[in-house]
Point group: C2
Chain length 331, copies 2
């Protein structure tokens, strides 16, 4: 199957582009996003969607930012596509919002993409994340302890944003561009091994490849997909159970212990997670869900986790809010 067919299958599989879709493509100038534009145009030729424009954000973070912008302008001119360019003060935004540069750049980028889509009458924004990004993100989330929530990797679709390249590799995209003599820019910061993602890419994944002697990126990307889809459905089920099992009494939540114990473990955990989050009003870790499950199972009469107190009271598990103490902030 050639690359365009593979991308077409991804689009069909996740229904990324409904009939008549008008697409804006986000382009950094790197191989992934440049290939994305070419592939979308190729598929639009016999598909039923249309590429309206491309959009580029100049983050003004790297010495080569202007070179990247120039390549995107040339690409648009050559393909006869409108281009929307925004220069963003990512450093200033990161400082004012107290975000990491990476988080600030992401927010600025998606904000611009969304505005550019509206300006060009596009209803979908396509971005160039690949199977490699999927694998790297999944491994980093695993290592960081994604908490009881959100282990999955990158989503094929989220709101307006779609990722048609999620089943193909960076290597395939570079080969595709090379065969066509299409230029792209190399982001030299991808070589910087002080960046965690780059270490995963250049150190951890190659080491894992050596030791299992197989396609680790593919294996991780498939696992991310399985885990993500399983979790999405289980979360949906748990949300329904939460509504039917949980009573709100003043500032407390109460759950009939026997009914919750009758639920299977995956739903029981997720109902507890939702209840803890609601009461503590903050993100909750797996160890706190486990502590709540221990109270529910009668292993102890009560416990405290950051932001919430739990106890068994007349066959109900009762969660009440509590102020944070100094020791909580150390957790």
């Amino acid at each position: 199957m050639d690359l365009a067919q593979q991308v077409r299958r991804t689009i069909a599989r996740y229904r990324l582009l409904p009939p008549g879709a008008v697409v804006l493509a986000g382009v950094s100038g790197g191989s992934d996003s440049v290939a994305l534009v070419h592939l979308l145009l190729e598929l639009a030729g016999h598909g039923d969607f249309r590429v309206a424009a491309i959009a580029h954000v100049n983050h003004q973070l790297r010495p080569t930012a202007d070179r990247d912008e120039r390549l995107c302008r040339e690409l648009a001119a050559r393909l006869g596509l409108p281009i929307s360019i925004e220069a963003a003060d990512v450093r200033g935004y990161a400082a004012s919002q107290r975000l990491s540069l990476e988080d600030a750049a992401r927010r600025v980028r998606y904000d611009h993409l969304s505005r550019a889509a509206a300006a060009h009458g596009a209803d979908v924004v396509a971005v160039g994340h690949t199977r490699d990004d999927q694998a790297e993100t999944f491994l980093m989330k695993l290592a960081r302890g994604a908490g009881a929530a959100g282990l999955g990797g990158v989503y094929p679709r989220r709101d307006q944003v779609v990722r048609p390249l999620l089943d193909v590799t960076r290597r395939q995209l570079r080969q595709y561009l090379s065969e066509r003599g299409e230029p792209w820019v190399e982001d030299e910061s991808n070589q910087d091994l002080s960046n965690p993602r780059n270490r995963v890419r250049h150190v951890v994944l190659p080491e894992l490849e050596r030791l299992v002697g197989g396609d680790v990126t593919g294996a991780l990307a498939r696992a991310a997909e399985l885990v993500r889809d399983d979790a999405a459905w289980l979360d949906e089920q748990a949300a329904r159970r939460f509504e039917s099992l949980v009573e709100r009494i003043n500032d407390e939540l109460a759950i009939d212990a026997a009914s919750l114990l009758a639920e299977p473990v995956p739903l029981r955990r997720r109902v507890l997670l939702r209840a803890l989050r609601a009461v503590a009003d903050r993100e909750v870790g797996f160890e706190h869900v486990q502590a709540a499950a221990d109270v529910l199972a009668g292993a102890c009469r009560g416990t405290e986790v950051p932001g919430a107190r739990l106890e068994l009271r007349r066959e109900k598990l009762v969660l009440s809010k509590r102020g944070l103490t100094r020791s909580d902030t150390l957790i």
Copy 2:
């Protein structure tokens, strides 16, 4: 919480030792299993289970095998416990059964533990896997591509075997033994970096720890537990759906396409996996399940995967057996 309390909580959480349980402990002589025996005896003192004996298998693979056996004998004598020892010809067994040494050693070991349990009137076999083993196993399964099945790590209970140390770390166990002046043997083969598990332990996990700056082993172990419990319940649900959705007609399986499409993705995938396995009579990869899902979704009329042919026939997805061709064996 002290170490014994932590282990007691694990035992309670997974109901590893029912009241009146009689336990046999498997002991290699390494820190994990030696600590296991001490901790079980400590907990049996105020618990309602009893440690009947310990068992050791001399795999005769390492130059230090006899030293390991001697330490186990001394341990048993000092604690006043019966010991069951078996010398096993793992190399011979591996050769005759065409197994890797690691797989052969595991089979021989669990066979002996099971026989020793029967001989000592024990109904449960406890072994010393730790949270570190959990994390390492999970990461290796992920990297190897555990297929559409079995991503989870090590199970707290499987048949007769229980793992009470699954929530504590190797480091905690060594500290526990050191504080008591209890000896253990160091398995020098654990330093051999040509062994994949040792590379995960000594190279990959420390690298991940450095780059996320947190407790990666704990994060992976928690993820393993979540994923394992989610998958166990989803598999159970899928087994029921399989029985109600799948018709067997001669050598073929037929599934009403609309009914299967109405199932949520996690169950749909698992029903397809079961159907493919049943027809192809072999392990099936995630990519084959995806190919089957594409046929079901009408993306193509039919496809072939190793051992099975799939097609849409009058609103049914029909799976039929097919012989393997040369190209299949290359997959």
